[in-house]
Each structure stands twice: as structure tokens, then as C-alpha cells.
């Protein structure tokens, strides 16, 4: 009986030691001279081989972590970035992160490879001085669909309002995408905040609501694969990644045009590893590296020098790199002032609970 008791006590002791040891290890590892970059990125948004190669070349370790939802991340960023050095932020997040002092400007002239970036992605509405952002990857918002279940492929955004597909349509679950779409379809500029415009937006989205199976930014690809929905408002790369394994999926940018979004590499304010972080950013800007990442994740690279190095199947895919005529129909999201953001969010909340 006594023996048994001691084993149990030992178990607890071992358990506590196990619980404590990684903390101790981390505490010991954090010497001042250590060369490390803490990099925070979207899930599945890099080639797994990229960072080990960087470490091999420079000796700088990269502590790589992923997030799944930007708004969730942002809610927590407010309590502090917890020692991150480099984070990826989508265009519309940049003004917020700037206003809340989360990100810091790039020192001018340090990045050797910055010139590789396509001019189209510089002087953008969200960062007019090119101070805070280095574009990483970009994509579009459009319609993902299941070719087998549709009589003909959708061509217009209004196909998402087609009552024939009632209960088989999914919409992205955020104000950003849905309100901007409704404004565009109603012929208003994105910065419009008049009552008339928002009444029209409300009416349009409420008219669609009974047809919508789910408002979701996450599970719509699964629903498309399983045939639960036949059309979904979608982000390009999500659908195209899944289309590699499920050839019945396809993606289209509707004829009315759409929005481009850009994910950017941003420096975190108060970072302790600025120099090494800049080396990592410069490395990610190298044509070969940028091309290998884009090939892996199936999103378009803003790196002009990388484009010739891309896999032909990606480079020549009009769904990834739209042809010039379609490109002209694509816009960056406009810069909204805080009042407009509130109006958008409130409208979206109202539509969801209606």
C-alpha cells in the first residue's frame, strides 16, 4: 500500500517537473545575444522549406507561429504583441494597427530587394507612403462554385441572388467583403455613408438572406467540396488550393469586378530583433523565395521579379493572375474612417440577426 502511494506521489512530482521544464528552457534560451525572429503569419501561408533555408544561410532562428482569424488576432493584439517581431496584416487592418501603435515604419533604404515589388502594389490607399508595409501575397474575392452542380458557371455577382439556388449559397462572414460588394452592386463608392446608400445595402443583403445557407469565412470550402452549397463568395487561393484535389471546384471573378486584397509584412513596434527581422523580410523578397512560396500556397505574388520563376500552371492561371482587362476591374479596398467602420459593422450585425 505504501509503495503504491509513493508511486502516485512520484507521478505528481514528475508531472509538475514536466510542466515546469519547458518554461525553464525558454527562460534560459532568452539570452540577449540570441539571433531569432518571431514571425506571426496566417495558417498555411508559407512553404515549409523556406524558413529552414533562411536559418541555414544566416544562422538566424525563426520562431514561426500561425493565426487563423485576423479579427480574433487583433482583439488580442490590443493587450500587447507578446514579443513578436514580424506579423502579416491584411490591407484593411493596417490603418487600425497604425492607429493603435502596434506596427512600426520600415527604415528607408534598408531592404535591398524592395524594388522587386510590382509598382501596382506600392502607394496603396492603406499605406500611401509605403512606410509600414511590404506586400507578401495577394488575392481576390470572387465566387467559388461546384461545376458539376451548376447548369452554367456564374458570371455575375447577382447569381448569388438566384432563387433557384436557395439554400445552396454561402456568403463570407464579414462586413468588409459583404458591405463593399453591396455598395459596389448598388453603384455607390466604397466610402459612401449616406442613409440612402445604406438602406439600399441593407435591402440588397436582406433580400439575399433567405437564400443563404451559411455566413461563414471558414467552412465554405468544405461545404463546396461536400456539395452542401453550390456557390460561395470566396477568396481565390482558398478555392484554388482545394481545387487541386477536387477538380469539380472552380473560381471566377464576376463581370462587375471585385476587390483585391493584399497581405503585408509589418514590423511590430518595440521589437527587440529589428535587424534580423529586416534580413528575413529582405530574404522573403528574393525572387526565388517569393516564387517558391506562391507556388506552394497558390496565391499571387506581388513580386514582379518572381513572376518569371513561378510554376507555369500558377503564372498562366487567369484565376490567380487575372488578364489585364479584368485587372482593371479590380480595386483595392478604400481607406475608411472609424465612423464608417462602425457603420459597416453595425449594418452587418443587423443583417446577421435579422
Amino acid at each position: 500500500m505504501d509503495e503504491r502511494r509513493y508511486t502516485r506521489r512520484d507521478f505528481l512530482r514528475v508531472a509538475l517537473a514536466v510542466a515546469a521544464s519547458p518554461t525553464l528552457l525558454v527562460a534560459c534560451a532568452e539570452g540577449p545575444k540570441e539571433r531569432v525572429v518571431n514571425f506571426f503569419n496566417w495558417s498555411r501561408y508559407i512553404d515549409p522549406k523556406t524558413l529552414p533555408r533562411f536559418t541555414k544561410r544566416t544562422g538566424i532562428q525563426v520562431n514561426y507561429q500561425e493565426f487563423a482569424d485576423e479579427e480574433e488576432m487583433f482583439a488580442k493584439l490590443r493587450s500587447g504583441a507578446l514579443g513578436y517581431d514580424l506579423i502579416v496584416g491584411t490591407d484593411y487592418m493596417i490603418p487600425r494597427m497604425k492607429a493603435l501603435n502596434i506596427i512600426a515604419p520600415y527604415p528607408p533604404g534598408v531592404l535591398k530587394n524592395l524594388g522587386n515589388i510590382d509598382r501596382q502594389f506600392r502607394r496603396t490607399p492603406y499605406d500611401p507612403d509605403d512606410a509600414f508595409t511590404v506586400p507578401y501575397l495577394w488575392g481576390t474575392t470572387g465566387i467559388g462554385f461546384n461545376k458539376k452542380k451548376l447548369a452554367k458557371p456564374p458570371t455575375s455577382w447577382l447569381d448569388l441572388w438566384d432563387p433557384r439556388y436557395s439554400g445552396k449559397i454561402a456568403m463570407l462572414d464579414n462586413a468588409r467583403d459583404c458591405i463593399s460588394l453591396a455598395l459596389m452592386l448598388k453603384g455607390y463608392p466604397e466610402t459612401e455613408t449616406s442613409d440612402a446608400a445604406f438602406k439600399a445595402v441593407r435591402d440588397l443583403l436582406l433580400k439575399q438572406r433567405p437564400l443563404v445557407r451559411q455566413y461563414t469565412s471558414s467552412t465554405y470550402v468544405d461545404s463546396l467540396v461536400a456539395g452542401e452549397v453550390v456557390m460561395a463568395m470566396a477568396w481565390s487561393g482558398d478555392v484554388l488550393q482545394a481545387a487541386r484535389e477536387n477538380p469539380q471546384l472552380d473560381y471566377v471573378i464576376p463581370k462587375e469586378g471585385s476587390y483585391i486584397w493584399v497581405d503585408n509584412l509589418c514590423l511590430v513596434r518595440g521589437s527587440q530583433h529589428r535587424e534580423d527581422t529586416l534580413r528575413l523580410v529582405d530574404y522573403l523578397l528574393e525572387p526565388k523565395v517569393a516564387a517558391e512560396i506562391a507556388d506552394k500556397v497558390r496565391y499571387a505574388s506581388p513580386n514582379a521579379a518572381a513572376k518569371p520563376l513561378l510554376d507555369a500552371s500558377l503564372r498562366d492561371d487567369p484565376r490567380v493572375f487575372p488578364p489585364k482587362r479584368e485587372m482593371e476591374q479590380l480595386k483595392f479596398h478604400a481607406l475608411l474612417d472609424p465612423d464608417a467602420v462602425e457603420l459597416w459593422n453595425d449594418t452587418w450585425s443587423d443583417i446577421k440577426v435579422a
Partner: protein, 265 residues
């Protein structure tokens, strides 16, 4: 009469079997789909074992598992200590003023949906500038686990009260502390252990509170599963859940062996 009882009994057992089938249906699906040869685990494409192999090479999943284990161990340890102290006073001390207040206080967490705890803690931590790190998360988990350790240990201490073993020891000259250490504590061990186990699993499985207050870069198993759900669940998650389930069963079997009343033998 007997015939009727038997038919009632068999109807009832059929019902119970059906209910257990309902409870185990998703687990069976989870198990079968862990062998699915598709990256998007919503339609069956074919049989493969590769997800189980991949599991052991996925650094992120293993990292998340490690975080969850550390978190659950820390929370269970805190909750067990707090629970032991509190339940001893509640179960063994003579009546004192304010006992009812404590009782009411300890039942508050059961009256709060977890989403309330999650957003309150988030608002609170951000307001008073407590960093959303491992420590604050572990403290919150200990809070969620506390009612479980208290109820488990208190029940055992109450049932031990009647055996008067401590009195016997003190009659033989032991002090209260010695009687506690040599008699009460060993006899209460099974309950402390199963309370801790319960606390461990509550923390290990907790999603809602963690979802709101896990700081950036703190990824527990349930959070990892959630983020994978956002980007498409691969059968790897099913494989992992099956392995964890097997582990849980082993732990339960172990606990059952350990928690057999030592005094009874």
C-alpha cells in the same frame, strides 16, 4: 408479473443501447474518417494510414499538444491544492459563520455560461494590463477546474468523516497534523487524484474560455483544431483525436485501478 418486468427491462435496455449508439456515432465516424485519403475530410475518398504517420512529424500539432499538457497539468495542480484546502474546511471544520456564503461563492462558476467567463476575463485582463500569456491562461483554467476538484474531494472527506479513524489515531497520541498526514491524506488520495484528473481533462478540452483569452501564439489543442477547421480539417485531426481518446481510456483504466479504496483491502 415477472414476464412484464422482463419485457420492460428489455425494452429499457434496447433504449439504452440506442442512446449509447447516438452518443458513439460521431466517434465512430471520427475513427473511420481518420483513415480517409483526402485532404478535405468531408467526403470519403479511400483508405490510408498515412495520417497517423504524419501526426508524429507535425511539429505544430505536437507543440499544441505540449502546450495543452503543460496547461492542464498546471491548472490541475493549482485547482487540486486550492480545492483540497477549501473542501477540508467545508467538510471537516465545525460549523462557522459564513459557510453558506462560501458555498454560494463556489457554485457561481456553474451558473455562468463559459462565454461569459471568456469575455469577462478578456475585458478584465486587457483593462488591468495583465498580459495574455501562459500564466494568465493557466490561472483561468484553474478557475474553471476548481468546482470539479472541490466537489470530488469534499464528497470523499464527508464520507470519511464517519469512519472516525483520525479520532482513533489521536486517542493514541497523534496530533491533528499527524493524523491528517498519516490517515486522512492517504485515504483521500483517490478522490484528490480523480479530482485532479477531472480538472486535467476539463482544462485539456476547454475551448471557449481559451478561445477568448489565449494570447497570440499560445496554441492549445482545441484552438489548433479550431484554426484547422477554418482552413479545412484534414483527417490528421481525426487521427489525433483517436490517439487522445485511446490515451484517455488508458488513463481512466489506470485511475480505476488506483482509486480502488485502499482501506477496503
Amino acid at each position: 408479473m415477472i414476464g412484464r418486468r422482463v419485457s420492460r427491462f428489455s425494452a429499457l435496455s434496447t433504449y439504452v443501447a440506442a442512446l449509447y449508439a447516438f452518443l458513439y456515432l460521431p466517434l465512430a465516424v471520427m475513427f473511420v474518417f481518420s483513415f480517409n485519403d483526402a485532404r478535405r475530410n468531408v467526403v470519403w475518398k479511400g483508405f490510408t494510414l498515412s495520417w497517423y504517420g504524419r501526426l508524429f512529424h507535425d511539429a505544430e500539432l505536437i507543440g499544441a499538444l505540449g502546450t495543452s499538457l503543460r496547461l492542464a497539468l498546471t491548472a490541475a495542480a493549482i485547482a487540486s491544492v486550492l480545492g483540497l484546502l477549501a473542501s477540508y474546511a467545508m467538510a471537516r471544520h465545525p460549523a462557522f459563520k459564513g459557510r453558506q456564503t462560501y458555498n454560494a461563492l463556489f457554485s457561481v462558476p456553474l451558473m455562468m455560461p463559459e462565454v461569459v467567463m471568456g469575455v469577462s476575463l478578456l475585458a478584465f485582463f486587457v483593462r488591468v494590463r495583465i498580459p495574455l500569456d501562459f500564466g494568465s491562461l493557466a490561472c483561468a483554467h484553474a478557475l474553471i477546474a476548481l468546482p470539479y476538484t472541490i466537489s470530488s474531494i469534499r464528497a470523499r472527506l464527508l464520507s470519511l468523516r464517519d469512519s472516525r479513524l483520525e479520532d482513533a489515531a489521536m486517542d493514541l497520541g497523534a496530533t491533528e497534523w499527524q493524523a491528517f498526514r498519516k490517515i486522512t491524506l492517504p485515504l483521500a488520495w483517490p478522490a484528490i487524484f480523480s479530482g485532479a484528473l477531472l480538472a486535467f481533462t476539463v482544462s485539456f478540452e476547454d475551448f471557449v474560455t481559451t478561445f477568448f483569452i489565449a494570447g497570440i501564439g499560445i496554441v492549445t489543442m482545441p484552438i489548433k483544431v479550431y484554426s484547422m477547421m477554418k482552413f479545412g480539417v484534414t483527417p490528421e485531426i481525426n487521427a489525433l483525436a483517436c490517439c487522445l481518446l485511446a490515451l484517455t481510456m488508458l488513463l481512466l483504466a489506470g485511475n480505476r485501478l488506483l482509486s480502488r479504496d485502499p482501506a477496503a483491502r
